[in-house]
């Protein structure tokens, strides 16, 4: 069976966030408000933030999209929406192909479990079967370079070792659509070189890359298209050669 071609399609995508203050997270305070009947404070302490507003995006195989924009402009929210974690309030998102989101490497890492267990867990979450994880275990273990430490709990690792483990496990997936929040090369200089090569291979295999980054050089290196986000509103997707003009606009 031939799968349909890899693609991303967002139509009129709007995503609003409720932001809850401390008060809004307390049931007791909610009840107190009801019984006293007071309308003090802002709307139960929660405010809606429009993180993405009427965004349209069409990507097909071979597209390497760079996302630029200030902090809080909606880049990460868009990546999370593309990963399927955030549901749109209006419009739609459709993604064809296996998605891998490398947004936050440390997520899903259980510090009390061993390195091996964490690799297994991460692989299962990424959609691999137990057998597939076992098949890849040697390769992942070797790449991490952690050797005998893999049998020890992750909480005994140094920060750099944890980063190596997380990176090795997270990048062991096969993906058609690769979502990245900043280029995640980690570890010491040697490992960074290895990590870089591994990421490149992953990017080459993937049909579509969406990379959010502040690093202009990096974007020039890996992306062929670019889109600028500002306050949840996206610019047109333009070829990467227009990056300077886009940033200046």
């Amino acid at each position: 069976m031939k799968a349909p071609p890899v693609s991303i399609s967002c139509q009129d995508l709007t995503l609003r966030f409720p932001v809850y203050g401390v008060d809004a997270k307390s049931l007791k305070k909610h009840l107190a408000k009801i019984t006293v009947g007071g309308k003090l404070g802002r709307h139960h302490g929660s405010t809606d933030v429009t993180a993405l507003s009427h965004l349209n995006l069409e990507l097909k195989a071979g597209d390497r999209l760079g996302l630029v924009g200030h902090n809080g402009s909606g880049k990460t929210t868009l990546l999370r929406a593309l990963s399927g974690a955030y549901e749109p309030d209006e419009g739609s998102i459709e993604v064809q192909g296996r998605i891998a989101a490398l947004l936050d490497l440390s997520l899903g890492i259980d510090p009390t479990a061993t390195g091996y267990d964490n690799i297994r867990l991460r692989g299962r979450i990424a959609g691999l079967s137990s057998r597939q994880v076992d098949e890849r275990m040697d390769e992942i273990a070797e790449f991490s370079g952690l050797g005998p430490f893999l049998a020890m709990p992750v909480k005994t690792y140094s920060a750099g070792m944890q980063a190596r483990l997380a990176f090795a496990a997270a990048t062991a997936v096969e993906a058609d659509v690769l979502l990245m929040d900043e280029w995640i090369a980690v570890g010491d200089a040697d490992f960074q070189k290895l990590a870089h090569r591994r990421l490149l291979k992953l990017v080459e295999r993937a049909g579509i890359l969406v990379l959010a980054s502040h690093d202009v050089e990096l974007l020039r290196l890996y992306c062929n298209k670019v889109m600028r986000m500002e306050g949840g509103v996206a610019s047109e997707v333009t070829p990467i050669k227009n990056l300077d003009a886009l940033m200046a606009a």
Binding site: K25, H30, S83, A85, E87, P88, V95, R124
Partner: protein, 278 residues
Amino acid sequence: MDTATHMLRTGRRGPLFEYQMALRDLRASAERLDLAWSLAWHDVVSRYRGSILGPLWITLSMGLMVLGIGFLWGELFRVSVHDFIPFVAVGIVFFGTVTTTINEGCETFVQASGMLSQTSLPMLTFVWRTVLRNLVYLAHHLVIVAGVLGYFGFWATADYPTAVLGLFFMVANVAWISMLVAIVSARFRDIPQIVQSITQAAAIMTPVFWLPDRIPPRYHLILDLNPFYHLLQAVRAPLLGGGVAPHTYLFLAAMAAVGWLVTFGIFANTRRRIVHYL
């Protein structure tokens, strides 16, 4: 909710659509029950890494508690140890499963926030993870039940099929309660304390450590209206050679039906928002 290679997310299209999407989540989580099982198994294995007795550690401490309470309280209540220890053992084991599944339910989504915010995994997978994990622990604790029933000679008179039926009713109810508190705890961070207070109160109000027939008739409502009593009774009574009153099944079936309807309704209406609560 999606196949491995296709994902579609859309905005709200009315209440009916929200229920359809919630059902899809349910179906997807059922198809990937093996993932929930892997997560649950990971929890069990990693919690006991490094301790020699492994998960039997809790079983051992629970066993000691059964013996202590069995002998001492049996003496205080002037009940024969022969009757009281099996009663307490079965009670502690199954009541423990009920309360920890509910208490740990509070953490279900909060703990999974990392995975929920960057994957399209079905949300209910994490509810099943909590339930399955506690069933694995229950399987360990059954050693105590088996030992006690064997030693005191109840194994021959126990009605196992009826006990399994009771266990089914128990799990069917505990699962929705665990799911309900998971959703509500994600939204309101003071819920876990409230839930713990309730389960603690339930441990006192429910005949786990005391015999139900000691209660004066005028207080009988404490048993009749206590859901925990019915949950426990459906499993415990058949194991100890007693019958289960028909109204216990009626109570549990009604509770499961209403509970699932309400909880599923809440899930359908909050599903989109849960990840933002975290």
